[in-house]
């Protein structure tokens, strides 16, 4: 190729690039610039050959590109200024667009961020989390050993007991903390490296010195981040234990979401330190208390291992003649062990479908709303655009101008969205007070999600900002100038109507789904608890973990209630294992689902909740006894097997006779009914109609208290600081005994309701958001329709149409849109509900609300229609103020 030929190509490229200059520049100097450059390039190529040509052409192009950037960015800033001025002139439009885009982007980002921080997240600090599997159900320790040693499936298999409460004293007084009791291969299987010292391993054999590993956060927050901690001694459950190491930062055990651990003790530790390991926990197969996780041998598939383990479990059941050996169903199910929430890959869609649909709907509605408004605006701006075209603005210039406007909206929306996402992520903090062993999820904004949602809404803005601009700039200038916009009749399938239709439909679908949740939660919250919650307090004690022997504990609890009652202002006090209205922890309800056998009828009846309560329980809580008596001290000694049942159970079991004096078989033992108590609310989940039975707390229970300890419930006269008084009393008895989980029942109810409130506010906001946007969209479209039909309305009024006729005319279209949108909305909601059915059916059970609730099916569309029609009415009313003369004169 000669320099001359190259010159031809260079000129071609130069011309092409020069077309990128703004029209204004091109008109002024474009031709001249290209002509001059062509001459120069040809001249240099002819005169100087390759040597001079190359640097010259490089200079030419460098110059051209620099100038292009300068001219275009100058125009861009002009566009931005102009766009800002335009948006300032219609603040309502700007605010609604930015807010709807912001809400859409924000919701999308925050929901995805939350999924990423929970469902998609792996257990922190674990090596190769994808290789970990966990057993879905806990197993007995001997079974664990069999699986580990004889199944041949695992490269390594570990087990742990969790959550385990410990009373820790490092010199500043006793305090409760949660931990895991772990087997020797726990840390090795997880692949966790120590931050300080060493972790628990095979060297920690039974009979050795008691040792413990601390979590990094516990070491940092409670032990002042002492670097010489390894080797020092602290007291755990009243026993001296040597701290051997600290785990890595953020590591809170193998299941931080379900049971975050701050302490790790080996299963080889003495039962003095960990009473949980007593009573056969390590020897009895029936005590299925251990969580199992491990890594499969290389080449073993999860499904293969699962089948092999299942077969093995069945064989073990046969060998030891287990009572459940002939049950059908899987014994062993393996789940991914490295995920924060053990969800299988194939189940992920189920978990994510519902939030994804909600967010998708919101984004959709938000985008549709902005699109509708941009379209309507572009039509209204046809005149402005026509004027600018007429006075010589280039089409590209106007397109870029409109694009800048859309982009500005998208960017502002993105900023609002990010703020919203930050705010909504911080709301998870609200849950902190109600979850005892809390793992800080450290919710972070997912930038992927933020980027994708932002791009999506920006694209919508561009698409719907540009499409009408293209149409407007292509239009016939003369006619646009004359009428300020074409007056066309109503068309069903105009872009605008389709947009509004699907917006109404989308809003309804969103409203139905959020309404379902809100209704459910409201119903849960509105159930009467069944007793007076004021001046009632609950506290937990666990002297065994404070270092007491069984005898000492029994002695302590024997005397405690009487001593508490002696405190001035205290009306009643009782010791109990379960207490009403618990959410996650505190004093748990022993919720054994037992099948009662009604011997008279010989039929199986509903499962029954069993609660173990002390004497004076009914008096203290204030549960009225409808018949018979409550428990007395002899009952606690187990002298007679007695039971108090609730009204539901009395009705279900003995519909025709009085319950008192009847007998019933519970957990294989026969009990005599001595009383009937009124139904009360026991748990967060409503259990109206559930059978409830109260058994007296056996004295032996005090020797081996549950993880939650023994609960002391106290009722006082108003205005008394019961918690301080009881603490003082207990510490005067023994300073080593800790009072924990001290709270008023009113506070617990408030915490419970907090969850309900948060949910209601959150879903309410989403539903309202959709509703408002649909209404605004409809109002906007109607308003523009009125503007466009000004002439028609003017003529009609001049010909004698009354105000009501005009309103009716304008409203008719809106009404049709709402009606058709409702039909589509139901169809959409139905389709979406099918997609998320697994999730929703689980939710239905908890919330006792169904998607076919009449309140929802009738209420939601009525609400939407009402608001939408009200939104239409506003522009319709304005249309009646059209002055016929002025309208006609405008032509």
């Amino acid at each position: 190729m000669s320099a001359g030929q190259a010159a031809g190509a260079a000129i071609h490229a130069y011309r092409w690039l020069a077309r990128g200059f703004p029209e204004e520049f091109q008109r002024a100097h474009g031709n001249e610039l290209v002509a001059l450059s062509e001459d120069l390039i040809q001249h240099v190529a002819a005169r100087q050959g390759w040597r001079g040509f190359l640097p010259f052409v490089a200079g030419m192009f460098g110059d051209l590109i620099m100038r292009l950037i300068a001219e275009l960015s100058a125009e861009f800033w002009l566009n931005v200024k102009y766009a800002l001025r335009t948006l300032r002139k219609s603040p309502g439009f700007a605010a609604v667009s930015i807010l709807s885009l912001g809400m859409g982007i924000g919701m999308g980002t925050s929901v995805y961020s939350q999924l990423e921080s929970t469902v998609f997240r792996e257990v922190p600090r674990v090596a190769e989390p994808k290789g970990l599997v966990r057993f879905q159900r806990p197993a007995g320790y001997p079974d664990y050993e069999d699986y580990r040693d004889h199944s041949g499936q695992f490269a390594t298999l570990a087990a742990y007991l969790a959550p385990v409460p410990f009373v820790v004293n490092w010199g500043a007084g006793p305090e409760r903390a949660w931990g895991h009791l772990v087997t020797a291969d726990y840390f090795a299987t997880l692949g966790v490296a120590p931050y300080l010292g060493r972790l628990i391993g095979p060297e920690d054999k039974p009979g050795g010195l008691p040792v413990a590993v601390l979590s990094h956060r516990y070491w940092r927050d409670k032990l002042g981040a002492r670097r010489d901690i390894a080797g020092s001694s602290i007291r755990i459950n009243g026993q001296a234990v040597t701290v051997i190491g600290v785990g890595p930062p953020d590591f809170l055990g193998a299941s931080p979401m379900m049971a975050a651990a701050d302490l790790f003790l080996p299963t080889s530790i003495q039962t003095r330190v960990a009473p949980e390991l007593g009573s056969g926990a390590l020897t009895d197969r029936r005590v299925a208390a251990f969580q199992l996780f491990g890594r499969l041998r290389p080449g073993v598939k999860v499904s293969e291992a699962e089948n092999a383990l299942d077969t093995m479990a069945r064989n073990l059941e046969q060998q030891r003649n287990d009572p459940g050996k002939d049950h059908k169903g899987r014994r062993v199910t393996l789940l991914p062990g490295g995920r924060l929430i053990p969800v299988r890959d194939e189940d992920l869609p189920t978990v994510t479908a519902f939030p994804a649909i909600l967010v998708g709907l919101m984004l959709w509605i938000a985008s549709a709303n902005v699109a509708t408004m941009l379209l309507a605006r572009a039509l209204a701006r046809r005149k402005e655009i026509a004027v600018r075209l007429a006075i010589g603005a280039g089409r590209g210039r106007i397109l870029r101008q409109l694009l800048t406007e859309s982009m500005l909206l998208a960017i502002a929306g993105g900023a609002v969205g990010l703020l919203f996402a930050y705010w909504s992520n911080s709301t998870t903090e609200w849950f902190r007070p109600i979850i005892p062993n809390y793992m800080d999820l450290q919710l972070r904004i997912s930038w992927t999600a933020a980027g994708v949602t932002f791009l999506l809404s920006a694209l919508t803005g561009i698409l719907f900002g540009l499409a009408p601009a293209l149409a407007a700039t292509r239009s016939d200038i003369a006619s646009a100038l004359k009428s300020g916009g074409a007056t066309r009749g109503f068309r069903w399938f105009s872009t605008r109507n389709i947009l509004v239709l699907q917006q109404v439909a989308g809003s309804l679908a969103l409203l139905l789904m959020t309404g379902f949740i809100i209704l459910g939660f409201q119903r849960t919250a509105n159930v009467d608890v069944g007793f007076d919650t004021s001046n009632l307090y609950t506290m937990s004690l666990d002297p065994v973990r404070d270092g007491y022997s069984a005898e000492q504990a029994r002695d302590f609890f024997d005397k405690l209630p009487a001593k508490v009652r002696e405190i001035d202002g205290i009306v009643a006090a009782t010791l109990t294992q379960s207490a009403p209205l618990n959410l996650f922890g505190g004093q748990s309800i022993v919720a054994t689902k037992q099948d009662f056998l009604d011997e008279a009828a010989g039929t199986r009846v509903k499962p029954t909740r069993i609660e173990h309560v002390g004497s004076g329980y009914f008096e203290t809580i204030g549960i009225p006894l409808v018949a018979g008596r409550g428990f007395q001290t002899p009952d606690e000694r187990g002298e007679a097997r007695v039971v108090v049942v609730n009204e539901n159970m009395a009705r279900n079991f003995w519909p025709n006779t009085t319950a008192v004096g009847q007998t019933v078989d519970l957990q294989g033992k026969r009990y005599e009914v001595v009383g009937v108590a009124r139904n009360v609310r026991s748990t967060f989940v409503i259990d109206e109609g559930a059978n409830g039975a109260y058994l007296p707390v056996a004295q032996s229970a005090y020797a081996t208290p549950s993880a939650q300890g023994v609960t002391l419930m106290v009722r006082s006269r108003p205005g008394i600081d019961v918690i301080t008084a009881v603490r003082r009393l207990v510490s005067s008895q023994d300073a080593n005994v800790t009072v924990f989980h001290a709270d008023s029942i009113e506070n617990q109810v408030r915490n419970l309701l907090l969850l309900v409130k948060i949910t209601t506010v959150l879903y309410g906001a989403i539903g309202l958001f959709g509703l408002l946007l649909a209404a605004i969209g409809l109002a906007g479209v109607t308003a523009y329709a009125v503007v466009q039909r000004t002439k028609e309305i003017g003529i009609r009024m001049a010909l004698g149409a009354r105000r009501l006729d005009v309103v009716r005319l304008v409203m008719r279209e809106g009404t049709w849109m709402v009606a058709v949108g409702t039909v589509f909305g139901f169809a959409a909601a139905y389709a979406l509900v099918q997609t998320a059915s697994t999730y929703l059916s689980a939710l239905s059970q908890v919330l006792q609300t169904s998607m076919t609730d009449p309140l929802l099916l009738i209420g939601a569309p009525l609400l939407l229609a009402g608001l939408a029609l009200a939104a239409c009415y506003w522009p319709a009313r304005r249309s009646t103020r059209i002055d016929p003369l002025a309208a006609l004169r405008e032509e």
Partner: protein, 105 residues
């Protein structure tokens, strides 16, 4: 007049002070005046011309030679342009005078 002229502007105004010229001629004239040191590449040249027109310092003139390329446009100084050039020239002269009196080169 207190307009501070950018170097490119100054060169273009200086070239036009010798008479009306078209773009290519301005470019050549600047190149000659500066002994080949200042080359106004085409896009920069026309960018500068546009800015000078917008600022009212130069204008297009209808007068042109009879047989010339029709695409060429001719430019001339406006009175404001002349004033700006004069002001800038005397500013520069003053600078040079100061430099000459202080620094023996």
């Amino acid at each position: 007049m207190a307009i501070h002229l950018k170097p490119n502007w100054f060169h273009v105004l200086l070239a036009l002070s010798e008479g009306d010229q078209h773009g290519y001629a301005i470019m050549q004239s600047v190149l000659e005046h500066t002994g080949g040191k200042v080359r106004l590449w085409p896009a920069t040249l026309y960018g500068t011309l546009k800015k000078l027109v917008d600022a009212g310092l130069i204008e297009e003139t209808g007068d042109r030679p009879a047989f010339d390329d029709a695409r060429r446009r001719y430019y001339r100084l406006t009175p404001e342009g002349q004033a700006a050039l004069a002001a800038e020239s005397s500013r520069l002269r003053e600078l040079v005078r100061i430099l000459d009196s202080r620094v023996p080169l």
